[in-house]
């Protein structure tokens, strides 16, 4: 039998999850449901509390953040968390307003679910985001991949250690950005459609929101490209998708 999604199959410990939600009843209900799914659930009723919890208890394995919070809204909360942490963040929002969703993704969220949702929707999203990079093609031995051969600052992707280095510096990619880069680097020179990337990285089906891919590619570019406004490594192929070009 499959273990509940809250448990890491390898370590057999409950994954730590932090809910940031201002509505007490929603938060309590979510805690009950997610605890049933095997997560070790922490709660925060606003962004400030959430950030304090992070400082005090260390980062959880995953965060679920509501966009409408008190003083500090969900967007700022996510942005603050992203300064130091790379764990998956799922936004839950009662608004399916286009601007809100794109803004949340740009702030650093990995995926979103609109209220009201069945609990299995959110656990499916969490499971997809917590998969290890390269899990799909685990047969091959992960080797370091040289993405940009610039002699002064070569860009190297190391799937084994889960790092991307530009010269001497470690680039801080979120887990999702890292997996997205791995998927693209797995087939250099080949166009991957947004739909395909959405399926591989986010485990979303045909009706998934392709804007998630676009925003993540944008975020990825700001970290790995020398000039994000003129991307050379992850290029857009109009009407088709994205392609990774190794810079020799």
């Amino acid at each position: 039998m499959q273990p509940p999604p809250g448990f890491d199959s390898m370590e057999r410990v409950a994954a730590k999850l932090l809910i940031v939600e201002d509505d007490d009843r929603v938060r309590t209900a979510l805690r009950l449901a997610l605890e049933d799914e095997g997560y070790d659930v922490g709660e925060a009723c606003d962004a400030e509390t959430a950030l304090a919890t992070l400082r005090r208890d260390g980062p959880p394995d995953v965060m679920v953040v509501d966009l409408m919070l008190g003083e500090m809204d969900g967007f700022s909360c996510i942005r603050q968390v992203r300064f130091d942490h790379d764990m998956p963040i799922i936004v839950v929002s009662a608004r399916d307003d286009t601007h809100d969703i794109v803004a949340a993704l740009e702030a650093g969220a990995d995926d979103y679910v609109t209220k009201p949702f069945e609990i299995k929707e959110i656990t499916a999203r969490l499971r997809a985001l917590r998969r290890r990079a390269g899990a799909a093609g685990a047969q091959e031995v992960p080797r370091d991949v040289l993405l940009d051969a610039d002699p002064r600052a070569p860009l190297v992707l190391s799937p084994a250690s889960g790092t991307v280095r530009r010269g001497e510096h470690d680039l801080h990619l979120t887990l999702t950005e890292f997996r997205l880069l791995c998927e693209l680097a797995g087939e250099p020179g080949r166009v991957l459609s947004r739909q395909a990337l959405l399926e591989r990285v986010w485990d979303r089906g045909f009706f998934g929101d392709e804007r998630i891919v676009d925003v993540h590619v944008r975020r990825l570019r700001t970290k790995i490209e020398k000039d994000p406004s003129d991307p050379r490594i992850v290029v857009t192929v109009r009407g088709l998708g994205y392609r990774l070009d190794v810079q020799r």
Binding site: T98, K115, P116, F206
Partner: protein
């Protein structure tokens, strides 16, 4: 609508009317001017020619009279002695005898009225045509038994007038064309702000609501620009208000619903721990909650579709893929689908998915079960045909079922239709410039036919389907 088309075609456009007005105006003015110039000139020249002919004739007659007074003068010689202007013919009638300066011109050419003895003194004058050329005949009585006739040529005057007429006609034509050209230019000038207006309106209709007309500084246009911009302002405010309302309502309703759905989910997970009666109550709550959830989603989707607020952009979609995935997502068998020809349409994925789900749910709830979904296409439309196994829809109700809160009478109460599903289908399909209608399925049952315009000249990118995602292909392939 079609009856109004010929009328519209007959009527000229605004620019055409401006050009026509200018051309007709120029034509009328120049024609009137040309006609009056010609008439006045001709009258003046004719009168002048007559006077000079009369003066010449009077002078010549005086000469002839003087010569004839000399005894023994031969009238023929007298005529020859006169030195009239070129081409002038002189005739003399004396003692019933005719004399002519040109032997081959006889007095027969003279018109009758001039031959009759004039009652009043003074020379009589009349136009005549001799050998096809125009002349003025002037008669001057020389006493009781003699009359002197002088035929003065007016050919020169006629050619002058012909030239004048030609010049005037040409000028009138040139003025008309000039007027039309001026009209064209003026029309363009006048229509320029209208073109800008139309362009701006098209932008706004395309969804860019922050577009405004620039102030032209033209006093005549200021009112138009101002009221247009005010109209767009209020439109934008209204849409904004509507958007906020939908957003607020959705937030206010979805938040408690989230608590309910999640909590009921927890209870369902622990259903076995509950006593029998509570389990029964939980099932009721659970069913009603599903219904409420669907109702809210349909209601919000309907409000959004009506307000033109969309979650995603239209994109080229394969209806075949859409149907396959919709069937898979709703745990229905792929065998229900028969693809005759795939069609690519420009559509919003999520809205069309909801539409298809609503049609399938409708078939399952009210139509005794979905029996088949067919996908066809003709020259410019794709058609999705959804068949069910129910009693069919009476012909009189086939329009009404697409209105809100119309659920099948026979099944009301027992079934869980929201009464919004088909209304949402109709709204969504209309927003995609398509049509939906209800018909009889051959062999019993209802048939819903959705027609969507095909996206012209669009090819879909090849989606690199990842391994592991198994899509059931239709058996027809």
């Amino acid at each position: 609508m079609s009856s109004a088309d010929p009328a519209r075609r007959r009527r000229l456009g605004l620019r055409g009317r401006v050009i026509l007005t200018f051309a007709v105006g120029a034509a009328l003015v120049s024609l009137a001017l040309a006609v009056s110039v010609f008439t006045i000139s001709r009258g003046y020249l004719d009168a002048q020619r007559e006077r000079s002919a009369q003066r010449q004739a009077a002078a010549d007659a005086a000469f002839v009279r003087t010569r004839l007074a000399v005894p023994g003068a031969a009238p023929g010689d007298v005529l020859t002695a006169v030195d009239p202007p070129a081409n002038t013919v002189l005739l003399l009638h004396r003692h019933d005898q005719w004399y002519s300066s040109e032997p081959d011109i006889s007095p027969d050419v003279l018109p009758d009225p001039i031959l009759a003895p004039a009652d009043e003194p003074g020379p009589a004058i009349l136009p005549v045509t001799i050998r096809g050329e125009p002349f003025l005949a002037v008669a001057v009585p020389l006493g009781a038994d003699a009359t002197f006739y002088e035929l003065a040529p007016v050919q020169e005057l006629r050619s002058t007038l012909t030239v004048l007429r030609t010049v005037l006609a040409a000028s009138a034509l040139a003025a008309t064309l000039g007027g039309a050209a001026l009209g064209l230019w003026a029309g363009r000038r006048v229509l320029q702000p209208l073109h800008r207006l139309a362009g701006t309106a098209a932008h706004i209709a395309g969804g860019r609501l922050d577009t405004r007309l620039a102030d032209t500084g033209d006093r005549d246009l200021a009112t138009l620009v101002e009221s247009f911009n005010r109209m767009v302002d209020s439109l934008q405010q209204r849409i904004e208000r509507e958007r906020r309302l939908v957003g607020d309502v959705s937030h206010e309703l979805r938040t408690p619903l989230t608590t309910l759905v999640t909590s009921v989910g927890v209870m369902r997970r622990h259903r076995d721990d509950l006593p029998e009666r509570s389990r029964h109550a939980l099932d009721l709550v659970s069913t009603e909650l599903d219904h409420l959830h669907r109702l809210l989603e349909d209601l919000l989707a309907l409000a959004k579709t009506e307000a033109g607020l969309h979650q995603d952009q239209p994109e080229p979609l394969s209806l075949r893929d859409l149907l396959i995935h919709t069937l898979a997502d709703t745990a229905r068998s792929a065998d229900l689908l028969t693809v005759h020809t795939d069609g690519i349409v420009l559509g919003r994925k999520l809205a069309l998915e909801r539409t298809l789900i609503n049609l399938m749910d409708n078939a399952d709830r009210h139509g005794g079960g979905l029996t088949q979904i067919g996908l066809h296409r003709d020259a410019d439309h794709a058609a999705i045909v959804v068949d069910d196994n129910g009693p069919g829809v009476p012909a009189g109700d086939r329009t009404a079922i697409f209105q809100r809160f119309t659920t099948g009478q026979a099944t009301r109460g027992s079934s869980a239709g929201t009464g919004l599903g088909l209304a949402l289908v109709a709204e969504t399909i209309a927003a995609h410039h398509g049509q939906v209608r209800c018909a009889d399925r051959p062999g019993g049952g209802a048939r819903f036919i959705v027609r969507l315009p095909l996206a012209p000249g669009v090819t879909l990118p090849q989606t690199g389907r990842p391994p592991g995602l198994n899509i059931r292909e239709p058996t027809s392939s």
